[in-house]
């Protein structure tokens, strides 16, 4: 407490005042239940207003910008080092960091403890961030992270089994976390990324809130089969032989699945039998 006071005392009075406003915003945000709360929008607006008031240029430059690209603060994809193409991009501006901090705090994350990253100018919760969010919800969980089952070079596919207890409900489900890998990716790194995916999936499952992924293409769970089944299955034309046709079935009357063009004459059974079944360009009915 004493240390805290001493530290605070070294800050300008305007920053100290902002700290109180910021703490108030954080407190409001912690109590903000996004799900099942019709008044959430009003609280959220209040949180964002308080944060915008607190995060002045001076506060940003004095308090938050120094936290950027540090392990006790938050990491970004612009850290002054060259990227894979050898380009060095400038550090993020105060405006970008301010927006990211507001986004993070509004959902209940702290700007310390590596709870979020800024990637491509957007805020994304980290594994630690999702841990904090799940703790905030009061979810008890166990995640069994398996090993990379993929046989491809660019991606790891890591099955994760999640069991949890929330509001007295015990449940569980599995995901296959797909994460990018390269020659330098260690198994622990990949499993760490998979664990983040599992926590993200659990948070989404419980709250319905998806805060996205920095690398949507590689790490978003896309259940392509489920999507295709949902969109396509049992939606096509009806095939069948009508009751009036049962009495005297005529091949020409068979209902076709959405014939868009004239169809050739029906093939008769004799077309395929014995000598007629031999290789020929002159099969009957063609």
């Amino acid at each position: 407490m004493e240390t805290n006071t001493q530290t605070t005392n070294t800050l300008p009075a305007t920053v100290v005042a902002a700290k109180e406003t910021f703490e108030l915003a954080c407190k409001e945000a912690q109590g903000l239940q996004i799900v099942n709360n019709f008044g959430a929008a009003f609280t959220a607006v209040n949180v964002v207003s308080l944060l915008r008031k607190a995060l002045t240029q001076e506060v940003m430059e004095t308090v938050f910008m120094p936290l950027m690209n540090t392990k006790i603060g938050f990491l970004t994809d612009r850290n002054g080092r060259p990227n894979s193409r050898g380009e060095v991009k400038p550090l993020y501006s105060v405006e970008v960091v301010r927006d990211a901090v507001i986004d993070a705090v509004a959902i209940g994350l702290l700007p310390t403890g590596n709870q979020f990253n800024i990637i491509a100018e957007r805020m994304y919760p980290t594994k630690e961030g999702y841990t904090a969010l799940l703790r905030k919800l009061g979810v008890k969980y166990f995640i069994d992270v398996s090993y990379d089952k993929s046989q491809t070079q660019g991606f790891a596919e890591i099955p994760c089994k999640i069991t949890y207890q929330y509001n007295g409900e015990k449940n569980g489900f599995s995901i296959v976390a797909t994460v990018k890998k390269d020659n330098y990716s260690s198994p622990d790194q990949l499993r760490g990324k998979a664990e983040r995916r599992a926590k993200k999936a659990l948070y989404e499952y419980i709250t319905g809130c998806d805060f996205g992924d920095a690398d949507e293409d590689s790490s978003r769970i896309v259940d392509a089969e489920a999507e295709e089944i949902k969109e396509q299955a049992n939606t096509g034309a009806t095939i069948g032989v009508g009751a009036q046709q049962e009495a005297a079935p005529q091949p020409q009357q068979a209902q076709q699945p959405a014939p868009a063009q004239p169809q050739p004459a029906p093939v008769q059974a004799t077309a395929g039998r014995g000598r007629s079944n031999a290789k020929s360009d002159k099969l009957p009915g063609f």
Partner: protein
């Protein structure tokens, strides 16, 4: 009309529809020597042989069937894909007319009327068949597909794949019994219990006498649970296809 199951698994598939005068063989994935007894060794009554796709467990013995001079029907893509099984025969299957986008032409094989429809499998040009006969009414034959786009009218009997249970498949993946590639392949080519049930519910089952669950995976499925679940959900007589199974497949259950 009777249905006789000769084989119904990834080891080989063949189903025979037969009355006193006519026979229809569905699939050629079993040695024809094992199929012949189901015809009483009389191939003259075989009106046709329908092949859904070129994989060995469905078309692996197509050459043997052709050697007997039986009329075999498959899509052009399936015929192309099954060439390796037809090397020792001068006979050729008959290509079904049409395509996946615009639909296929119905064919008449004796008293059987057959309407092919596209299925979703990792094969060249896979199809299922709606088979109609005056004795059986409409029969849906759908296998090796992860969903079916069409719906079906006038159904009296159903032969439908019920391959795997999603939870069991995931458990097998996590336990390392199957790898990710296999997991993906199963999901992208076979009908799950859930999708099978959705398909059944999407169709009018009022006049259905039999639902026969085919091509159930031993490792990723649970035949007993599938049968109980489908029977309970549909209220219809449900049977799991096993070699030697013989069922009355008439449109009247009596």
């Amino acid at each position: 009309m009777e249905l006789k199951v000769i084989g119904s698994s990834s080891e080989g598939n063949a189903y025979v529809l037969r009355n006193e005068g006519e026979t229809l063989l569905l699939e050629a994935g079993i040695s024809f020597k094992k199929v012949l007894p189901a015809f009483d060794y009389d191939v003259s009554k075989v009106q046709g042989v329908l092949i859904t796709h070129e994989h060995g467990d469905h078309a692996g013995h197509i050459g043997e069937v052709l050697k007997y001079g039986l009329p075999v029907y498959a899509t052009a893509g399936t015929i192309e894909g099954a060439r390796r099984y037809m090397e020792r025969t001068d006979f050729e299957p008959t290509a079904l007319q049409g395509n996946r986008e615009q639909g296929y032409q119905a064919i008449t094989l004796g008293g059987f009327r057959v309407i092919p429809f596209p299925t979703q499998h990792d094969a060249n040009e896979p199809v299922g068949f709606y088979v109609w006969h005056q004795e059986t009414g409409g029969i849906l034959f759908a296998t090796d597909t992860f969903y079916v786009k069409n719906r079906f009218a006038g159904l009296s009997n159903i032969l439908i794949e019920c391959n795997y249970d999603q939870e069991r498949l995931e458990a097998n993946l996590i336990a390392g019994k199957i790898d990710a590639a296999r997991y993906r392949r199963v999901r992208h080519s076979h009908l799950s219990y859930t999708t099978c049930l959705q398909l059944l519910k999407a169709n009018d089952l009022t006049a259905v006498n039999n639902i026969v669950l085919i091509h159930t995976s031993r490792d990723n499925g649970d035949a007993k649970a599938f049968r109980e679940g489908i029977a309970k959900a549909t209220g219809k007589t449900t049977t799991v296809a096993v070699p030697g199974l013989l069922l009355n497949f008439n449109k009247s259950p009596f």
